[in-house]
C-alpha cells in the first residue's frame, strides 16, 4: 500500500512572546512586530505521524499551509523535517479568513493536489485554538473526521482504528479512508530535522498557489467568505481588588482569612 498523506501546518507566533503581542486600542489592531514565528506545535506531531506512516507503508507526505508570504518558512521547516513537497496557499484575498473560509481554501488546494488517503491536522493551534479547521475541512471534502487522536492503527482493507481521547478515558473509533484526523499531544514525539535533511530540503519543491490557481470562489474565502467577524479586541479586564499583604506570615495569614470571610459572604 502506498499512501498520499497531507499534513496541514499553520504558522503561529512563538508562544513565549505572546505577552509582547500588543493592542492598538484605537485602530483595534494587534502588533506582532518582531515576534518570531514557529510551526504550530501540534502540527509537528501531525507531521511526525505522517512520516512514521510513510516509513511503515511507503507513500508521500505533502505539507500545506495557508498564510502570508512568510508562512513559507514554516513549510521550509516541514520539508527539512521530512515532508516530500509543500504547497503554500498565498493570496491577498485569503486574508481575514475565519475557520470556515480557512477550511474551504485548504479544501480547494487539497482537491488540486489530487488523490490522497489521509489528511493530518493538529487538534488545535496555540494562537486562536478553535480546533475547528480540521473537521470543517473534512466536511468540505466530504470525508469523515476524528479529532483528539492519540493512536492510529491500520486495519485490513482501507480503514483505521484510532483512539480518540476524552476528558475521562477514550473512544475506539473505526474510520474508512480517505479521512481527516486531528492529532493531540501524546500521539508521538516529533523528531528534529537532521543536518542532512536540511541540506536536502533545499532541492525539494514548494508550490505557491493563489485563489484562482485553486479555483476558489471569491465569496467563500477571506473576510468576505467568513461568517464570523472580530468586532473588538481588548485587554483582559482584571477588576480584582489587588489587596496585597506583606509582613510576618502569621499576621498576614490572619488578615487574609478575615478578608476571605467578608468577601465570600458578600
Amino acid at each position: 500500500m502506498s499512501l498520499n498523506i497531507i499534513v496541514c501546518v499553520k504558522q503561529v507566533p512563538h508562544p513565549e512572546h505572546f505577552s509582547r503581542i500588543t493592542l492598538d486600542p484605537i485602530r483595534q489592531t494587534i502588533s506582532r512586530e518582531g515576534i518570531p514565528a514557529v510551526i504550530n506545535p501540534l502540527d509537528l506531531h501531525a507531521l511526525e505521524e505522517a512520516l512514521r506512516i510513510r516509513e511503515e507503508l511507503s507513500g508521500k507526505v505533502t505539507a500545506i499551509s495557508m498564510g502570508p508570504p512568510q508562512a513559507r518558512c514554516a513549510l521550509e521547516e516541514a520539508l527539512a523535517i521530512g515532508a516530500d513537497d509543500a504547497v503554500l496557499l498565498c493570496d491577498k484575498s485569503f486574508a481575514g479568513a475565519d475557520t470556515l473560509a480557512t477550511a474551504y481554501s485548504l479544501a480547494c488546494g487539497i482537491k488540486k493536489l489530487g488523490r490522497f488517503a489521509l489528511i493530518l491536522c493538529g487538534n488545535e493551534t496555540i494562537d486562536s485554538a478553535t480546533g475547528q479547521v480540521g473537521p470543517q475541512l473534512a466536511e468540505f471534502l466530504g470525508i469523515p473526521h476524528v479529532t483528539s487522536v492519540i493512536q492510529i492503527a491500520f486495519e485490513q482493507g482501507s480503514s483505521l482504528i484510532v483512539r480518540q481521547a476524552l476528558e475521562e478515558g477514550y473512544m475506539k473509533v473505526r474510520v474508512k479512508l480517505p479521512a481527516m484526523l486531528a492529532v493531540a499531544k501524546g500521539i508521538n514525539q516529533p523528531r528534529l530535522p537532521t543536518v542532512w535533511a536540511i541540506m536536502e530540503a533545499g532541492s525539494k519543491e514548494m508550490q505557491i498557489w493563489g485563489a484562482s490557481d485553486i479555483g476558489a470562489t471569491q465569496d467563500m474565502i477571506g473576510l468576505e467568505g467568513s461568517p464570523t467577524h472580530v468586532t473588538g479586541i481588548f485587554e483582559r479586564d482584571t477588576t480584582r481588588r489587588r489587596e496585597i499583604l506583606e509582613g510576618p506570615p502569621r499576621q498576614i495569614a490572619k488578615k487574609a482569612v478575615n478578608r476571605l470571610h467578608e468577601l465570600i459572604a458578600t
Binding site: F18, S19, I21, L23, L100, I126, D127, A129, T130, G131, Q132, V133, G134, P135, E139, P144, H145, V146, S148, I161, Q164, A165, L166, E167, E168, G169, Y170, M171, K172, V173, V175, K176, A179, P227, T228, H229, T231, G232, I233, F234, E235, R236, T238, R240, R241, R242, E243, I244, L245, E246, P249, I252, A253, K254, A256, V257, N258, L260, L263, I264
Partner: protein, 332 residues
C-alpha cells in the same frame, strides 16, 4: 421567533454538567430575546434525561433515540442536528466545548455554512429590539493575553461552544416541558464508527464543580512537592489543581491542570500558590468569585489578577493559613 438551542450531551446515559450550565446561560439569552429555549438530546433510552433538561430550563426537548445513537457517532449526530436546525431555524445554538462537542460543532457549522465561535467565556445579546439581534461572543486569544469579541452578523444560526465550568446552571425547578420525539433513521453505512467508549474514573473531587480550588505552581519545588497544597485544600474541602510545571513534575495528573490548555474553573474561591501568573494559566480562572494568591515575588503578575495577595515564602505562609482557617472555620 427563533429559539435558543442547547445541544445536550450525554455519555453512557449521564448528562454532562456543561449541558446544564448552557441551559442556565440559554435561559438568560432566551428571556432577553423573548423566545423559547430548547434542548436537543440524542442517545439510546435517554428519555428520562429530558426531565432534567426541562427542570434546568428547557421549554422543549427534541429527543432522538436509537440503539445506534447510544455512543457518539460523528457523522450521524452531525447530520441529525444539521437537519433539525435547518427545519426549525433556531437563532442561537450552544454546544459544550467537551472533546465530543468540539468534534461535533465544527462539522455542523460547516454543513450549515454558518459561523462558529470556540470556547466563549461570555455571551450577550445586543440590538435585541431590532430585526436582527446579535450575539456578542467573547473569547480569549493568544493564550489569554487579549480578549476578542466575535459576531456572526448575517448568517444564522449563531453557534458557540463554551467550556465546562464557565457558565452557571439554574436552580432545579419543577416544571413541565414539551418533548418532541424525532424520527431517527440511521441507514447509511457509517464511514466513521465509534466502537467503544472506555471510561477511566478520575480520582479526587471534580475540578469544574468544586467550590474551592487550590492550585500550586513551580514555586512548590522549595517545599519539596504538593503536600502543603493538599493540606490547604483539605481544610477548605476543595479540589487540588496546578500549573503546567506542576504537571510536568508529576505532582498532579494532567487533567488537574488549570489554564488555556487545561481546565477552566469558576469556583467561589481560587487559591494560587507559588505560580507566577502566566496568562495561559490565569485564563483558566477568570470567573472565580474570589482569588487569593501567594508568591514570594511582590512583582509577580499573579497579584494583578488576585483579590488578596500574600507576599512571602509559601513554606511559612501556608501552615499559618491552615491554622487560621481551622480556627475560624470558613464556610464556603
Amino acid at each position: 421567533m427563533n429559539e435558543v438551542w442547547v445541544i445536550a450531551e450525554q455519555r453512557l446515559g449521564k448528562l454532562m454538567s456543561v449541558s446544564l450550565e448552557l441551559l442556565g446561560k440559554g435561559t438568560e439569552l432566551a428571556r432577553q430575546l423573548k423566545v423559547g429555549l430548547a434542548a436537543v438530546l440524542l442517545g439510546d433510552k435517554v428519555r428520562a434525561l429530558s426531565r432534567q433538561l426541562v427542570c434546568y430550563g428547557a421549554d422543549r426537548v427534541y429527543l432522538g433515540e436509537d440503539p445506534r445513537l447510544r455512543l457518539y457517532q460523528s457523522e450521524v449526530y452531525a447530520d441529525l442536528v444539521a437537519k433539525l436546525v435547518d427545519t426549525h431555524k433556531p437563532g442561537i445554538v450552544l454546544i459544550g466545548a467537551t472533546s465530543i462537542g468540539r468534534d461535533l460543532a465544527p462539522r455542523i457549522a460547516a454543513k450549515l455554512k454558518t459561523g462558529l465561535t470556540a470556547h466563549c467565556v461570555e455571551l450577550r445579546i445586543v440590538n435585541e429590539d431590532t430585526e436582527k439581534p446579535q450575539l456578542v461572543q467573547v473569547v480569549p486569544g493568544w493564550g489569554g493575553s487579549l480578549m476578542v469579541n466575535i459576531a456572526c452578523p448575517v448568517r444564522r444560526p449563531q453557534i458557540a461552544t463554551v467550556s465546562p465550568g464557565v457558565m452557571t446552571k439554574c436552580d432545579w425547578e419543577e416544571r413541565e416541558g414539551e418533548i418532541i420525539t424525532l424520527a431517527v433513521d440511521v441507514q447509511q453505512e457509517l464511514r466513521v464508527e465509534t466502537l467503544e467508549m472506555v471510561h477511566e474514573e478520575r480520582t479526587g473531587a471534580a475540578l469544574e464543580e468544586a467550590e474551592v480550588v487550590v492550585a500550586g505552581g513551580w514555586g512548590l519545588l522549595s517545599a519539596g512537592g504538593f503536600e502543603l497544597v493538599e493540606e490547604l485544600a483539605k481544610v477548605l474541602g476543595g479540589a487540588v489543581a496546578g500549573t503546567r510545571p506542576a504537571v510536568d513534575s508529576g505532582w498532579i495528573p494532567e487533567h488537574r491542570m488549570v489554564g488555556q490548555s487545561g481546565k477552566t474553573v469558576s469556583p467561589k474561591l481560587f487559591i494560587s500558590v507559588g505560580a507566577s501568573g502566566a496568562p495561559q494559566f490565569t485564563a483558566g480562572f477568570l470567573k472565580a468569585k474570589v482569588v487569593l494568591a501567594i508568591d514570594q515575588n511582590p512583582n509577580a503578575p499573579i497579584f494583578d489578577v488576585a483579590d488578596i495577595g500574600l507576599v512571602g515564602d509559601l513554606c511559612d505562609i501556608l501552615p499559618c493559613l491552615v491554622t487560621e482557617l481551622k480556627e475560624t472555620g470558613l464556610r464556603i
